[in-house]
Symmetry: C2
């Protein structure tokens, strides 16, 4: 939260974006109106080894994959189609060339998987391995971007896929560094196709779950000036949370609610759009709550998390 407060303070300093059709700081990604129908969606996301990726478990190839996926997820949350990736890479002077090549291979695989290409980058030595990944996306068919700020009271709250897998995967890796379910932590997926399908199907707002649904639902609620009531008991819990719970004693519901980096999409939609959204191809959707009037951001009901306010 400290970093978020800092960002808010910094945004107050900078000269506002005032181009019609453009969108400045504060959402998952920004939109640059370059005077054409295909507006340009951009976002940057940094992965610092030891801060955002545990070097005991994340190989160089994983690191490249993960850094690019984390950034692409912000495009997914806008319903934008990934086109280009730029990578700023900082690495310690004693890094092996083969490790850097493995990192580039992983980064390239993540970009290509999402239909994008790496268009360039910058490298420098420095004290710790860091990837600063910029992603550039388009908005197809003249569709506007889906922001965090247009949820309406009465909307239903939905989420794609399953939650807690990344956090559970990390727990499993701590117990056994070669646990195959650790892949959920090491190599997450960005929900690019899901984001585009949801945008087309009429969601009102969307955010990617990078900090855990408890926190990210709060971000979306505050941006919309509303409150997201999320029922903890309805969260789609990744099955590996139960494996992690057995070996570590962690509560599967807590992993699902607070585990970050699943990169699933949290969205809101009018009840009238539910059929269209559920019919959108290849989507695994769970309805977990509703939007209510109020400024609280989010509240989670049930069990140990009852009354949490984010």
């Amino acid at each position: 939260m400290r970093e978020l407060n800092l960002l808010d303070a910094l945004w107050e300093i900078i000269t506002p974006v005032d181009t019609p059709g453009s969108l400045g700081p504060g959402d998952d990604a920004a939109v640059v109106n370059l005077g054409s129908s295909a507006n340009t969606v951009i976002s940057v996301d940094q992965t610092v080894s030891g801060v955002h990726a545990d070097p005991r478990f994340v190989t160089p190839n994983d690191f490249g994959w993960r850094a690019v996926t984390t950034a692409l997820s912000d495009l997914a949350a806008m319903g934008s189609t990934p086109e280009a990736v730029l990578i700023g890479l900082i690495f310690p002077a004693d890094t092996k060339a083969d490790d850097l090549k493995a990192l580039a291979t992983g980064a390239d695989a993540a970009a290509v998987e999402a239909g994008a290409r790496i268009f360039g980058g910058d490298v420098s030595t420095g004290p710790v391995l860091t990837a600063s990944v910029t992603v550039v996306g388009s908005l197809r068919d003249g569709r506007p971007p889906v922001t965090r700020s247009a949820a309406e009271p009465g909307d239903l709250v939905g989420v794609t896929g399953m939650l807690g897998g990344s956090a559970a995967g990390l727990e499993l890796l701590r117990a056994n560094p070669s646990d195959p379910d650790g892949l959920r932590y090491r190599r997450p997926s960005a929900r690019v196709n899901e984001g585009i399908a949801l945008a087309s199907a009429g969601v009102t707002s969307m955010i990617d779950i990078s900090d855990g649904i408890a926190t990210d639902a709060g971000h979306l609620g505050r941006a919309s000036g509303a409150r997201l009531d999320v029922d903890l008991m309805r969260l789609p819990i990744d099955p590996i949370c139960h494996r992690a719970a057995e070996s570590t004693g962690a509560d599967p519901h807590v992993l699902a609610a607070t585990g970050g980096e699943d990169f699933e999409l949290l969205f809101t939609a009018p009840a009238a759009q539910v059929d269209a959204i559920e019919a959108a191809a290849d989507l695994s959707i769970t309805w977990v709550g509703e939007v209510v009037a109020g400024e609280g951001g989010t509240s989670l009901s049930e069990a140990g998390l009852s009354g949490w306010q984010h």
Copy 2:
């Protein structure tokens, strides 16, 4: 040079950009064809405190200005109009909030000076202050980007402004940390308007001088499959090089030829375009050599640098 060789090795790994109208890695910036007439020009550049900016002389405000200017210079070299800036910022946990605000203020000033706005960013703590700046530009009037790779034998070689000021400024700061000419090091300018004017006036290739003209002429020559013969005695030497020479014994010609980060533009043009280029408003141009057939990249004639091959 090590970093450049590494980048070349990494580019060989990644999947090539194959969209018509797009331009992948290897130039000052990349071009993303988003299916509109206004193609999107993108570049990323990193500034690491202690590597690219001397923290003894560069204030937080300077650091923000410098990091953004360095990145904007890559757009200038393509003849692109700056539109948007994204900043990935990493800072030590004990950094004062006021210093971060000063950094943001300096970054904003550099963006606004170039007609752009900061559209977003990402912050994280880490071991050393680092700014990873992505810039997004447009190509006005459907003009193609000016690359490094289209210099032709017979073209003349020109350069904007004066050279060596940044390196001389750093020397002067080492002697006296409050030397006013140190501003040439602390707060360089990107030649945005010059780049657009040169592109309109018909230059065949262009690069910004970030590593020193001796090195950057080599980059341009190699990208074009030709050799740039640059006459050392014709370089426009920044007057403060002579001041630095007096106090430190440095050779003003060496400062001008090898000092990086002046962010002037080096370009090539057919002799028939010389009048148009010299007539372009507000341009201080010096003709310093010519393009000849051959693969050598560049050669500098005269004095101690005679025979340098880059």
